[in-house]
Protein backbone atom coordinates (compact mmCIF):
# COMPACT_ATOMS: atom_id res chain seq x y z
CA UNK A 1 0.00 0.00 0.00
CA UNK A 2 2.75 2.32 0.98
CA UNK A 3 4.67 1.67 -2.19
CA UNK A 4 1.76 2.45 -4.42
CA UNK A 5 0.99 5.72 -2.77
CA UNK A 6 4.65 6.61 -2.96
CA UNK A 7 4.63 5.81 -6.64
CA UNK A 8 1.54 7.85 -7.30
CA UNK A 9 3.11 10.60 -5.26
CA UNK A 10 6.11 10.48 -7.58
CA UNK A 11 3.77 10.59 -10.56
CA UNK A 12 2.19 13.67 -9.10
CA UNK A 13 5.58 15.22 -8.49
CA UNK A 14 6.65 14.38 -12.02
CA UNK A 15 3.50 15.84 -13.47
CA UNK A 16 3.86 18.93 -11.32
CA UNK A 17 7.47 19.33 -12.38
CA UNK A 18 6.51 18.97 -16.02
CA UNK A 19 3.74 21.49 -15.60
CA UNK A 20 6.12 23.87 -13.87
CA UNK A 21 8.59 23.52 -16.72
CA UNK A 22 5.86 24.22 -19.25
CA UNK A 23 4.73 27.25 -17.31
CA UNK A 24 8.27 28.53 -17.17
CA UNK A 25 8.55 28.18 -20.92
CA UNK A 26 5.22 29.92 -21.34
CA UNK A 27 6.60 32.92 -19.50
CA UNK A 28 3.79 35.21 -18.44
CA UNK A 29 1.51 32.51 -17.08
CA UNK A 30 2.84 32.40 -13.53
CA UNK A 31 2.66 36.12 -12.98
CA UNK A 32 -0.89 36.21 -14.30
CA UNK A 33 -1.98 33.61 -11.79
CA UNK A 34 -1.26 35.85 -8.82
CA UNK A 35 -4.24 37.96 -9.77
CA UNK A 36 -6.63 35.05 -9.43
CA UNK A 37 -7.94 35.66 -5.96
CA UNK A 38 -10.70 33.16 -5.52
CA UNK A 39 -8.93 30.04 -6.61
CA UNK A 40 -11.65 27.48 -6.17
CA UNK A 41 -13.90 29.44 -8.45
CA UNK A 42 -11.32 29.63 -11.20
CA UNK A 43 -10.41 25.96 -11.05
CA UNK A 44 -13.44 24.72 -12.92
CA UNK A 45 -12.82 26.97 -15.88
CA UNK A 46 -9.11 27.39 -15.60
CA UNK A 47 -7.70 24.45 -17.57
CA UNK A 48 -5.35 25.88 -20.14
CA UNK A 49 -5.42 29.27 -18.44
CA UNK A 50 -3.20 30.56 -15.69
CA UNK A 51 -1.76 28.30 -13.02
CA UNK A 52 -3.67 28.36 -9.72
CA UNK A 53 -2.69 29.51 -6.28
CA UNK A 54 -3.87 26.64 -4.13
CA UNK A 55 -1.57 24.38 -2.22
CA UNK A 56 -1.90 21.38 0.02
CA UNK A 57 -2.89 17.79 -0.37
CA UNK A 58 -6.01 16.04 -1.60
CA UNK A 59 -6.30 12.52 -0.23
CA UNK A 60 -8.20 10.19 -2.51
CA UNK A 61 -8.46 6.45 -2.35
CA UNK A 62 -10.62 3.47 -3.10
CA UNK A 63 -11.51 1.75 -6.35
CA UNK A 64 -8.53 0.15 -8.06
CA UNK A 65 -10.39 0.37 -11.37
CA UNK A 66 -10.30 4.14 -11.26
CA UNK A 67 -6.52 4.18 -11.26
CA UNK A 68 -6.18 5.32 -14.86
CA UNK A 69 -8.89 7.96 -14.59
CA UNK A 70 -7.42 9.37 -11.40
CA UNK A 71 -3.93 9.35 -12.87
CA UNK A 72 -5.13 11.28 -15.94
CA UNK A 73 -7.14 13.74 -13.84
CA UNK A 74 -4.21 14.25 -11.46
CA UNK A 75 -1.92 14.99 -14.34
CA UNK A 76 -4.38 17.45 -15.85
CA UNK A 77 -5.08 19.04 -12.49
CA UNK A 78 -1.38 19.58 -11.88
CA UNK A 79 -1.34 21.92 -14.85
CA UNK A 80 -4.11 23.99 -13.31
CA UNK A 81 -3.05 23.85 -9.68
CA UNK A 82 0.63 22.92 -9.55
CA UNK A 83 0.74 23.54 -5.80
CA UNK A 84 -1.72 20.79 -4.97
CA UNK A 85 -0.73 17.16 -4.65
CA UNK A 86 -3.35 14.52 -5.15
CA UNK A 87 -2.62 11.23 -3.44
CA UNK A 88 -4.30 7.98 -4.43
CA UNK A 89 -4.46 4.82 -2.43
CA UNK A 90 -5.91 1.85 -4.36
CA UNK A 91 -7.72 0.00 -1.61
CA UNK A 92 -10.99 -0.98 -3.27
CA UNK A 93 -14.37 0.71 -3.61
CA UNK A 94 -15.57 -0.42 -0.19
CA UNK A 95 -12.57 1.12 1.54
CA UNK A 96 -13.02 4.28 -0.53
CA UNK A 97 -16.58 4.76 0.68
CA UNK A 98 -15.60 3.97 4.27
CA UNK A 99 -12.72 6.45 4.00
CA UNK A 100 -15.10 9.21 2.94
CA UNK A 101 -17.58 8.26 5.67
CA UNK A 102 -15.06 8.42 8.50
CA UNK A 103 -13.30 11.43 6.94
CA UNK A 104 -9.90 9.81 6.54
CA UNK A 105 -10.12 10.60 2.83
CA UNK A 106 -11.06 13.90 1.21
CA UNK A 107 -12.56 12.07 -1.71
CA UNK A 108 -13.45 8.39 -1.68
CA UNK A 109 -13.47 6.59 -5.00
CA UNK A 110 -16.07 3.99 -5.82
CA UNK A 111 -16.58 2.08 -9.03
CA UNK A 112 -20.14 1.11 -8.10
CA UNK A 113 -23.18 3.21 -7.38
CA UNK A 114 -23.75 4.08 -3.72
CA UNK A 115 -26.29 2.03 -1.80
CA UNK A 116 -29.19 3.78 -0.12
CA UNK A 117 -27.93 3.32 3.42
CA UNK A 118 -24.55 4.70 2.41
CA UNK A 119 -26.19 7.84 1.09
CA UNK A 120 -27.08 8.90 4.64
CA UNK A 121 -23.51 9.94 5.31
CA UNK A 122 -21.96 10.58 1.93
CA UNK A 123 -22.72 12.15 -1.42
CA UNK A 124 -21.79 10.57 -4.70
CA UNK A 125 -20.75 12.49 -7.80
CA UNK A 126 -20.49 10.44 -10.98
CA UNK A 127 -17.45 11.68 -12.87
CA UNK A 128 -17.30 9.02 -15.56
CA UNK A 129 -18.84 5.80 -16.78
CA UNK A 130 -16.98 2.63 -17.55
CA UNK A 131 -18.37 0.78 -20.55
CA UNK A 132 -16.97 -2.69 -21.12
CA UNK A 133 -17.33 -4.01 -24.64
CA UNK A 134 -17.71 -7.71 -25.34
CA UNK A 135 -15.56 -8.59 -28.31
CA UNK A 136 -15.45 -11.60 -30.61
CA UNK A 137 -13.50 -12.52 -33.70
CA UNK A 138 -14.70 -10.95 -36.94
CA UNK A 139 -15.49 -14.40 -38.33
CA UNK A 140 -17.83 -15.20 -35.46
CA UNK A 141 -21.49 -15.50 -36.38
CA UNK A 142 -22.63 -14.48 -32.92
CA UNK A 143 -23.81 -10.89 -32.88
CA UNK A 144 -25.87 -10.68 -29.71
CA UNK A 145 -25.57 -12.18 -26.24
CA UNK A 146 -27.54 -11.74 -23.05
CA UNK A 147 -25.91 -11.11 -19.69
CA UNK A 148 -27.20 -14.53 -18.63
CA UNK A 149 -25.51 -16.19 -21.61
CA UNK A 150 -22.27 -14.34 -20.85
CA UNK A 151 -22.44 -15.55 -17.28
CA UNK A 152 -22.87 -19.16 -18.37
CA UNK A 153 -20.11 -18.86 -20.97
CA UNK A 154 -17.55 -17.38 -18.60
CA UNK A 155 -18.25 -19.85 -15.81
CA UNK A 156 -17.91 -22.76 -18.19
CA UNK A 157 -21.55 -23.82 -18.20
CA UNK A 158 -21.77 -23.14 -21.93
CA UNK A 159 -18.62 -24.33 -23.68
CA UNK A 160 -19.68 -24.49 -27.32
CA UNK A 161 -20.49 -21.61 -29.61
CA UNK A 162 -23.43 -23.49 -31.15
CA UNK A 163 -25.31 -23.18 -27.85
CA UNK A 164 -25.45 -19.41 -28.32
CA UNK A 165 -26.13 -19.39 -32.04
CA UNK A 166 -22.65 -19.68 -33.50
CA UNK A 167 -20.78 -22.38 -35.38
CA UNK A 168 -19.72 -25.59 -33.69
CA UNK A 169 -16.53 -24.93 -31.75
CA UNK A 170 -15.17 -24.65 -28.24
CA UNK A 171 -15.45 -21.20 -26.69
CA UNK A 172 -12.07 -19.69 -25.84
CA UNK A 173 -12.37 -17.21 -22.99
CA UNK A 174 -9.83 -14.42 -23.07
CA UNK A 175 -9.60 -12.17 -20.03
CA UNK A 176 -7.37 -9.91 -18.01
CA UNK A 177 -5.11 -10.76 -15.11
CA UNK A 178 -6.28 -10.75 -11.50
CA UNK A 179 -6.21 -7.21 -10.17
CA UNK A 180 -7.14 -5.57 -13.45
CA UNK A 181 -9.93 -3.02 -13.20
CA UNK A 182 -11.57 -4.16 -16.42
CA UNK A 183 -11.66 -7.73 -15.16
CA UNK A 184 -13.07 -6.64 -11.84
CA UNK A 185 -15.69 -4.53 -13.64
CA UNK A 186 -16.75 -7.24 -16.04
CA UNK A 187 -16.84 -9.97 -13.43
CA UNK A 188 -18.83 -7.96 -10.93
CA UNK A 189 -21.39 -6.73 -13.47
CA UNK A 190 -21.92 -10.15 -15.05
CA UNK A 191 -21.73 -11.71 -11.59
CA UNK A 192 -18.98 -14.21 -12.37
CA UNK A 193 -16.48 -13.01 -9.82
CA UNK A 194 -13.62 -15.46 -9.25
CA UNK A 195 -15.35 -18.23 -11.17
CA UNK A 196 -14.20 -17.56 -14.73
CA UNK A 197 -12.58 -20.39 -16.64
CA UNK A 198 -10.17 -18.37 -18.74
CA UNK A 199 -8.12 -19.96 -21.48
CA UNK A 200 -5.89 -16.92 -21.57
CA UNK A 201 -5.19 -14.21 -19.05
CA UNK A 202 -3.44 -11.27 -20.61
CA UNK A 203 -1.97 -8.18 -19.06
CA UNK A 204 -3.20 -5.47 -21.39
CA UNK A 205 -6.35 -4.48 -23.19
CA UNK A 206 -4.43 -4.46 -26.46
CA UNK A 207 -3.26 -8.03 -25.87
CA UNK A 208 -6.83 -9.19 -25.28
CA UNK A 209 -7.94 -7.55 -28.50
CA UNK A 210 -5.16 -9.11 -30.56
CA UNK A 211 -5.77 -12.52 -29.02
CA UNK A 212 -9.44 -12.29 -29.99
CA UNK A 213 -8.43 -11.04 -33.41
CA UNK A 214 -6.20 -14.07 -33.94
CA UNK A 215 -8.60 -16.77 -32.76
CA UNK A 216 -12.00 -17.28 -34.44
CA UNK A 217 -13.31 -19.07 -31.34
CA UNK A 218 -12.32 -16.41 -28.84
CA UNK A 219 -14.44 -14.03 -26.80
CA UNK A 220 -13.09 -11.33 -24.54
CA UNK A 221 -13.80 -7.99 -22.95
CA UNK A 222 -12.11 -4.64 -23.21
CA UNK A 223 -12.65 -1.01 -22.38
CA UNK A 224 -14.95 0.56 -24.96
CA UNK A 225 -12.43 3.22 -25.90
CA UNK A 226 -9.76 0.68 -26.83
CA UNK A 227 -11.79 -1.42 -29.24
CA UNK A 228 -11.03 -0.74 -32.89
CA UNK A 229 -12.30 -2.39 -36.04
CA UNK A 230 -9.99 -5.41 -35.87
CA UNK A 231 -12.55 -7.30 -33.81
CA UNK A 232 -16.34 -7.37 -33.68
CA UNK A 233 -18.34 -6.03 -30.73
CA UNK A 234 -21.40 -8.05 -29.85
CA UNK A 235 -24.56 -6.30 -28.78
CA UNK A 236 -25.71 -7.12 -25.27
CA UNK A 237 -29.44 -7.81 -25.12
CA UNK A 238 -29.84 -5.95 -28.38
CA UNK A 239 -27.95 -2.84 -27.37
CA UNK A 240 -24.74 -1.88 -29.07
CA UNK A 241 -21.87 -0.70 -26.89
CA UNK A 242 -21.15 2.94 -27.65
CA UNK A 243 -20.59 6.13 -25.71
CA UNK A 244 -24.24 7.05 -26.22
CA UNK A 245 -25.70 3.78 -24.98
CA UNK A 246 -23.36 3.78 -22.00
CA UNK A 247 -24.37 7.33 -21.16
CA UNK A 248 -28.12 6.75 -21.40
CA UNK A 249 -27.79 3.54 -19.40
CA UNK A 250 -29.26 1.13 -21.94
CA UNK A 251 -26.02 -0.80 -22.38
CA UNK A 252 -25.89 -3.25 -19.49
CA UNK A 253 -22.21 -3.89 -18.98
CA UNK A 254 -21.24 -0.59 -17.48
CA UNK A 255 -20.64 0.93 -14.09
CA UNK A 256 -20.19 4.42 -12.73
CA UNK A 257 -16.99 5.93 -11.41
CA UNK A 258 -18.08 7.87 -8.35
CA UNK A 259 -16.41 10.54 -6.23
CA UNK A 260 -17.68 10.00 -2.70
CA UNK A 261 -17.64 12.98 -0.33
CA UNK A 262 -18.74 13.33 3.27
CA UNK A 263 -22.02 15.18 3.81
CA UNK A 264 -21.24 16.65 7.20
CA UNK A 265 -17.80 18.09 6.47
CA UNK A 266 -17.10 20.75 3.88
CA UNK A 267 -14.40 19.92 1.36
CA UNK A 268 -11.10 21.70 1.63
CA UNK A 269 -10.53 24.34 -1.02
CA UNK A 270 -8.11 22.20 -2.96
CA UNK A 271 -10.35 19.12 -2.80
CA UNK A 272 -13.31 21.16 -4.04
CA UNK A 273 -11.13 22.45 -6.87
CA UNK A 274 -10.23 18.88 -7.81
CA UNK A 275 -13.87 17.80 -7.84
CA UNK A 276 -14.78 20.84 -9.93
CA UNK A 277 -11.96 20.06 -12.32
CA UNK A 278 -12.97 16.41 -12.63
CA UNK A 279 -16.56 17.29 -13.46
CA UNK A 280 -15.68 20.13 -15.82
CA UNK A 281 -15.80 19.90 -19.58
CA UNK A 282 -12.02 20.30 -19.71
CA UNK A 283 -11.57 16.93 -18.02
CA UNK A 284 -13.71 15.08 -20.56
CA UNK A 285 -10.84 14.36 -22.92
CA UNK A 286 -8.59 13.28 -20.06
CA UNK A 287 -11.23 10.83 -18.91
CA UNK A 288 -11.65 9.55 -22.44
CA UNK A 289 -7.92 8.94 -22.85
CA UNK A 290 -8.01 7.01 -19.58
CA UNK A 291 -10.50 4.64 -21.16
CA UNK A 292 -13.77 5.76 -19.59
CA UNK A 293 -16.82 7.63 -20.84
CA UNK A 294 -17.06 11.21 -19.57
CA UNK A 295 -20.46 12.35 -18.32
CA UNK A 296 -20.02 16.11 -18.51
CA UNK A 297 -19.48 17.56 -21.92
Amino acid sequence: MKKISRRSFLTVCGAAAAAAALTACGGSASSASSTAASASATASSAAGQAAGTLSGNVATGGSTSMKNVIAALTEGFAEVEPGVTVSYDPTGSGAGITGATDKTLDIGLSSRALKDDEKNDVDGTVVALDGIAIIVNKDSKVADLTVEQLKKMFTGEITNWKEVGGDDGEIVLVGREAGSGTRDGFESIVDVKDSCKYAQELTATGAVISAVEANPLAIGYASLSAVGDTVAMVTVEGVECSEDTVKDGTYKIQRPFVFVTNKSAALSEQAQAFVDFATSKDAADLIRTAGAVPVNE
Binding site: V172, G179, E201
Partner: protein, 304 residues
Protein backbone atom coordinates in the same frame (compact mmCIF):
# COMPACT_ATOMS: atom_id res chain seq x y z
CA UNK B 1 40.55 -6.14 -3.88
CA UNK B 2 42.70 -6.18 -0.74
CA UNK B 3 45.85 -5.33 -2.62
CA UNK B 4 44.20 -2.30 -4.12
CA UNK B 5 43.09 -0.85 -0.82
CA UNK B 6 46.38 -1.47 0.92
CA UNK B 7 48.38 0.09 -1.92
CA UNK B 8 46.03 3.06 -1.77
CA UNK B 9 46.78 3.44 1.89
CA UNK B 10 50.50 3.07 1.55
CA UNK B 11 50.85 5.56 -1.28
CA UNK B 12 49.23 8.48 0.45
CA UNK B 13 50.24 11.11 -2.06
CA UNK B 14 51.34 9.90 -5.46
CA UNK B 15 54.19 12.05 -6.72
CA UNK B 16 54.09 11.99 -10.48
CA UNK B 17 51.04 12.42 -12.72
CA UNK B 18 51.43 8.80 -13.76
CA UNK B 19 51.22 7.74 -10.13
CA UNK B 20 48.12 9.80 -9.71
CA UNK B 21 46.51 8.23 -12.72
CA UNK B 22 47.44 4.81 -11.41
CA UNK B 23 45.91 5.50 -8.02
CA UNK B 24 42.74 6.98 -9.47
CA UNK B 25 42.29 4.12 -11.91
CA UNK B 26 42.87 1.58 -9.15
CA UNK B 27 40.17 3.25 -7.13
CA UNK B 28 37.77 3.22 -10.09
CA UNK B 29 38.41 -0.47 -10.72
CA UNK B 30 37.79 -1.14 -7.06
CA UNK B 31 34.51 0.79 -7.15
CA UNK B 32 33.33 -1.08 -10.24
CA UNK B 33 34.14 -4.39 -8.63
CA UNK B 34 32.34 -3.41 -5.45
CA UNK B 35 29.30 -2.23 -7.40
CA UNK B 36 28.54 -5.72 -8.67
CA UNK B 37 29.04 -7.22 -5.22
CA UNK B 38 26.80 -4.59 -3.65
CA UNK B 39 24.08 -5.23 -6.22
CA UNK B 40 24.06 -8.95 -5.53
CA UNK B 41 24.02 -8.44 -1.78
CA UNK B 42 21.32 -5.78 -1.99
CA UNK B 43 19.12 -7.89 -4.25
CA UNK B 44 19.51 -10.97 -2.06
CA UNK B 45 18.70 -9.07 1.10
CA UNK B 46 15.79 -7.27 -0.52
CA UNK B 47 14.31 -10.50 -1.89
CA UNK B 48 14.44 -12.17 1.49
CA UNK B 49 13.15 -9.17 3.42
CA UNK B 50 10.23 -8.55 1.08
CA UNK B 51 9.48 -12.19 0.33
CA UNK B 52 9.42 -13.72 3.76
CA UNK B 53 6.51 -11.82 5.41
CA UNK B 54 3.88 -13.11 2.97
CA UNK B 55 5.16 -16.68 3.22
CA UNK B 56 4.94 -16.32 6.97
CA UNK B 57 1.40 -14.95 6.77
CA UNK B 58 0.14 -17.54 4.30
CA UNK B 59 2.06 -20.42 5.81
CA UNK B 60 4.96 -21.98 3.97
CA UNK B 61 3.21 -25.27 3.36
CA UNK B 62 0.05 -23.62 2.05
CA UNK B 63 2.15 -21.33 -0.11
CA UNK B 64 4.46 -23.87 -1.71
CA UNK B 65 2.03 -26.76 -1.98
CA UNK B 66 -1.33 -25.04 -2.32
CA UNK B 67 -2.85 -25.95 -5.66
CA UNK B 68 -5.07 -22.93 -6.11
CA UNK B 69 -4.10 -19.33 -6.80
CA UNK B 70 -6.93 -16.80 -6.50
CA UNK B 71 -5.18 -13.66 -5.38
CA UNK B 72 -8.07 -11.22 -5.76
CA UNK B 73 -10.92 -13.43 -4.58
CA UNK B 74 -12.98 -12.44 -1.56
CA UNK B 75 -11.12 -15.12 0.36
CA UNK B 76 -7.79 -15.09 -1.43
CA UNK B 77 -5.81 -18.27 -1.96
CA UNK B 78 -2.09 -18.17 -2.55
CA UNK B 79 -0.95 -21.63 -3.61
CA UNK B 80 1.95 -21.55 -6.04
CA UNK B 81 2.37 -25.27 -6.72
CA UNK B 82 0.83 -24.82 -10.20
CA UNK B 83 3.44 -22.16 -10.98
CA UNK B 84 6.33 -24.22 -9.64
CA UNK B 85 5.27 -27.31 -11.58
CA UNK B 86 4.64 -25.31 -14.75
CA UNK B 87 8.08 -23.75 -14.48
CA UNK B 88 9.70 -27.13 -13.95
CA UNK B 89 7.76 -28.80 -16.77
CA UNK B 90 8.36 -25.88 -19.10
CA UNK B 91 12.08 -25.89 -18.43
CA UNK B 92 12.31 -29.65 -18.61
CA UNK B 93 10.39 -29.72 -21.87
CA UNK B 94 12.59 -27.01 -23.34
CA UNK B 95 15.67 -28.98 -22.28
CA UNK B 96 14.36 -32.19 -23.81
CA UNK B 97 13.68 -30.41 -27.11
CA UNK B 98 16.59 -28.01 -27.07
CA UNK B 99 19.52 -30.08 -25.84
CA UNK B 100 19.62 -32.70 -28.63
CA UNK B 101 19.22 -30.02 -31.28
CA UNK B 102 21.81 -27.79 -29.63
CA UNK B 103 24.28 -30.61 -29.11
CA UNK B 104 24.02 -31.86 -32.69
CA UNK B 105 24.39 -28.29 -33.95
CA UNK B 106 27.50 -27.91 -31.82
CA UNK B 107 29.03 -31.16 -33.15
CA UNK B 108 28.23 -30.04 -36.67
CA UNK B 109 29.81 -26.64 -36.16
CA UNK B 110 32.86 -27.90 -34.32
CA UNK B 111 33.66 -31.00 -36.37
CA UNK B 112 31.68 -31.44 -39.57
CA UNK B 113 30.88 -28.09 -41.15
CA UNK B 114 33.12 -26.64 -43.80
CA UNK B 115 34.50 -23.23 -42.80
CA UNK B 116 32.25 -21.09 -45.01
CA UNK B 117 29.06 -22.75 -43.85
CA UNK B 118 30.32 -22.64 -40.28
CA UNK B 119 30.71 -18.86 -40.43
CA UNK B 120 27.14 -18.49 -41.67
CA UNK B 121 25.67 -20.78 -39.00
CA UNK B 122 27.72 -19.24 -36.20
CA UNK B 123 26.58 -15.78 -37.23
CA UNK B 124 22.98 -16.95 -37.32
CA UNK B 125 23.24 -18.43 -33.83
CA UNK B 126 24.86 -15.29 -32.48
CA UNK B 127 22.00 -13.29 -33.95
CA UNK B 128 19.51 -15.69 -32.41
CA UNK B 129 20.97 -15.03 -28.98
CA UNK B 130 20.68 -11.30 -29.57
CA UNK B 131 16.99 -11.31 -30.45
CA UNK B 132 15.00 -9.73 -27.61
CA UNK B 133 12.66 -12.09 -25.82
CA UNK B 134 9.65 -9.93 -26.61
CA UNK B 135 10.25 -10.63 -30.29
CA UNK B 136 10.22 -14.36 -29.60
CA UNK B 137 6.97 -13.82 -27.75
CA UNK B 138 5.45 -11.78 -30.52
CA UNK B 139 6.30 -14.38 -33.15
CA UNK B 140 5.09 -17.09 -30.81
CA UNK B 141 1.81 -15.30 -30.30
CA UNK B 142 1.19 -14.57 -33.96
CA UNK B 143 2.59 -17.72 -35.58
CA UNK B 144 3.20 -20.51 -33.09
CA UNK B 145 0.01 -20.24 -31.03
CA UNK B 146 -2.37 -20.43 -34.02
CA UNK B 147 -0.19 -23.18 -35.53
CA UNK B 148 -0.34 -25.27 -32.35
CA UNK B 149 -4.10 -24.81 -32.20
CA UNK B 150 -4.45 -25.93 -35.82
CA UNK B 151 -1.99 -28.82 -35.66
CA UNK B 152 -3.57 -30.40 -32.62
CA UNK B 153 -7.16 -29.40 -33.29
CA UNK B 154 -7.43 -27.33 -30.13
CA UNK B 155 -9.54 -24.22 -29.67
CA UNK B 156 -6.67 -22.25 -28.21
CA UNK B 157 -2.95 -22.75 -28.79
CA UNK B 158 -1.82 -20.64 -25.86
CA UNK B 159 -0.58 -23.46 -23.67
CA UNK B 160 2.35 -25.22 -22.03
CA UNK B 161 3.47 -26.76 -25.34
CA UNK B 162 3.84 -23.35 -27.00
CA UNK B 163 5.85 -22.12 -24.05
CA UNK B 164 8.12 -25.17 -24.28
CA UNK B 165 8.73 -24.64 -28.00
CA UNK B 166 9.55 -20.96 -27.57
CA UNK B 167 11.86 -21.68 -24.61
CA UNK B 168 13.68 -24.46 -26.44
CA UNK B 169 14.51 -22.07 -29.27
CA UNK B 170 15.61 -19.41 -26.82
CA UNK B 171 18.05 -21.68 -24.99
CA UNK B 172 19.68 -22.97 -28.19
CA UNK B 173 22.33 -20.23 -28.44
CA UNK B 174 23.68 -20.77 -24.91
CA UNK B 175 23.84 -24.54 -25.38
CA UNK B 176 25.44 -24.30 -28.82
CA UNK B 177 28.07 -21.67 -28.09
CA UNK B 178 29.29 -23.24 -24.84
CA UNK B 179 29.28 -26.73 -26.32
CA UNK B 180 31.20 -25.62 -29.42
CA UNK B 181 33.91 -24.14 -27.21
CA UNK B 182 34.10 -27.36 -25.22
CA UNK B 183 34.24 -29.54 -28.34
CA UNK B 184 36.92 -27.36 -29.92
CA UNK B 185 39.01 -27.79 -26.79
CA UNK B 186 39.09 -31.58 -27.10
CA UNK B 187 42.76 -32.48 -27.84
CA UNK B 188 43.04 -33.51 -31.51
CA UNK B 189 45.20 -36.53 -30.52
CA UNK B 190 42.14 -38.21 -28.99
CA UNK B 191 40.22 -37.96 -32.22
CA UNK B 192 43.20 -38.84 -34.38
CA UNK B 193 43.79 -41.92 -32.25
CA UNK B 194 40.21 -42.99 -32.68
CA UNK B 195 40.30 -42.47 -36.43
CA UNK B 196 43.61 -44.33 -36.67
CA UNK B 197 42.01 -47.31 -34.97
CA UNK B 198 39.47 -47.44 -37.76
CA UNK B 199 36.49 -45.64 -36.22
CA UNK B 200 34.36 -43.57 -38.56
CA UNK B 201 33.94 -39.80 -38.11
CA UNK B 202 30.51 -40.23 -36.52
CA UNK B 203 31.76 -42.88 -34.12
CA UNK B 204 34.64 -40.64 -33.15
CA UNK B 205 32.42 -37.62 -32.47
CA UNK B 206 29.91 -39.51 -30.39
CA UNK B 207 32.26 -41.87 -28.58
CA UNK B 208 35.35 -39.69 -28.16
CA UNK B 209 34.67 -35.98 -28.66
CA UNK B 210 31.39 -35.65 -26.80
CA UNK B 211 32.45 -37.70 -23.75
CA UNK B 212 35.70 -35.71 -23.62
CA UNK B 213 33.77 -32.43 -23.72
CA UNK B 214 30.96 -33.53 -21.45
CA UNK B 215 31.56 -31.12 -18.59
CA UNK B 216 31.59 -28.14 -20.97
CA UNK B 217 28.42 -29.39 -22.64
CA UNK B 218 26.78 -29.88 -19.27
CA UNK B 219 27.68 -26.31 -18.37
CA UNK B 220 25.96 -25.15 -21.56
CA UNK B 221 22.87 -27.14 -20.70
CA UNK B 222 22.73 -25.71 -17.18
CA UNK B 223 23.13 -22.20 -18.59
CA UNK B 224 20.26 -22.92 -20.96
CA UNK B 225 18.11 -24.17 -18.08
CA UNK B 226 18.91 -20.99 -16.19
CA UNK B 227 17.77 -18.90 -19.10
CA UNK B 228 14.60 -20.95 -19.57
CA UNK B 229 13.49 -20.77 -15.95
CA UNK B 230 14.08 -17.03 -15.77
CA UNK B 231 12.32 -16.08 -18.98
CA UNK B 232 9.12 -14.10 -18.49
CA UNK B 233 8.17 -11.95 -21.43
CA UNK B 234 8.15 -14.49 -24.24
CA UNK B 235 6.41 -17.06 -22.08
CA UNK B 236 3.76 -14.62 -20.96
CA UNK B 237 2.79 -14.03 -24.57
CA UNK B 238 2.28 -17.69 -25.46
CA UNK B 239 1.43 -19.67 -22.32
CA UNK B 240 -2.12 -18.47 -21.70
CA UNK B 241 -1.38 -17.39 -18.12
CA UNK B 242 -4.32 -19.01 -16.35
CA UNK B 243 -3.23 -20.36 -12.98
CA UNK B 244 -4.01 -24.00 -13.87
CA UNK B 245 -2.19 -27.12 -12.79
CA UNK B 246 -0.06 -28.24 -15.75
CA UNK B 247 -1.83 -31.58 -16.19
CA UNK B 248 -1.70 -31.49 -19.96
CA UNK B 249 0.57 -30.06 -22.64
CA UNK B 250 -2.42 -28.13 -23.93
CA UNK B 251 -3.34 -26.50 -20.64
CA UNK B 252 -3.10 -22.74 -20.30
CA UNK B 253 -0.48 -22.29 -17.58
CA UNK B 254 1.32 -19.66 -15.51
CA UNK B 255 5.03 -19.99 -14.74
CA UNK B 256 6.75 -18.49 -11.71
CA UNK B 257 8.07 -15.60 -13.77
CA UNK B 258 4.80 -14.83 -15.52
CA UNK B 259 2.85 -15.01 -12.26
CA UNK B 260 4.92 -12.09 -10.99
CA UNK B 261 4.95 -10.15 -14.23
CA UNK B 262 1.26 -10.36 -14.95
CA UNK B 263 -0.11 -9.30 -11.57
CA UNK B 264 2.50 -6.84 -10.38
CA UNK B 265 1.10 -3.73 -12.02
CA UNK B 266 -2.17 -3.64 -10.09
CA UNK B 267 -1.33 -5.69 -7.04
CA UNK B 268 -1.67 -4.39 -3.51
CA UNK B 269 -1.48 -5.67 0.04
CA UNK B 270 -0.91 -9.34 0.64
CA UNK B 271 -1.19 -10.08 -3.08
CA UNK B 272 1.78 -7.84 -3.75
CA UNK B 273 3.78 -9.36 -0.91
CA UNK B 274 2.97 -12.83 -2.20
CA UNK B 275 4.39 -11.84 -5.59
CA UNK B 276 7.65 -10.97 -3.86
CA UNK B 277 7.54 -14.37 -2.21
CA UNK B 278 7.18 -15.99 -5.63
CA UNK B 279 10.22 -14.01 -6.71
CA UNK B 280 12.06 -15.37 -3.68
CA UNK B 281 11.18 -18.93 -4.69
CA UNK B 282 12.37 -18.22 -8.22
CA UNK B 283 15.54 -16.70 -6.80
CA UNK B 284 16.20 -19.86 -4.80
CA UNK B 285 15.67 -21.96 -7.93
CA UNK B 286 18.17 -19.90 -9.88
CA UNK B 287 20.67 -20.03 -7.02
CA UNK B 288 20.37 -23.82 -7.05
CA UNK B 289 21.00 -23.86 -10.77
CA UNK B 290 24.09 -21.73 -10.26
CA UNK B 291 25.37 -24.10 -7.59
CA UNK B 292 24.85 -27.00 -9.99
CA UNK B 293 26.69 -25.07 -12.67
CA UNK B 294 29.64 -24.48 -10.37
CA UNK B 295 29.77 -28.15 -9.38
CA UNK B 296 29.65 -29.16 -13.04
CA UNK B 297 32.45 -26.79 -13.98
CA UNK B 298 34.63 -27.89 -11.07
CA UNK B 299 34.01 -31.53 -11.95
CA UNK B 300 35.24 -30.72 -15.44
CA UNK B 301 38.46 -29.26 -14.10
CA UNK B 302 39.18 -32.36 -12.09
CA UNK B 303 38.76 -34.53 -15.20
CA UNK B 304 41.41 -32.61 -17.03
Amino acid sequence: MKNTTSSLRRVRLPRTPADWLEAVMNFIFFLCGMLAVCCVVLISVYMVVSGVPAIHKIGIFKFLFGTKWASTAAEPLFGILPFILSSIYGTLGATILGVPIGLLTAVFLSKAADPKLRTVVVTAIELLSGIPSVVFGLLGMQVLVPAVAKAFGKASGACLLSAIVVLSIMILPSIVSVSVTALNAVPPEYEQGSLALGATDTETWFKISIPAAKSGIAAGVVLGIGRAIGEAMAVMMVAGNSPNMPDSLFRSVTLLTTAIAKEMSYAGGLQRQALFSIALVLFVFIMLINVVLNVVLKGGNRDE
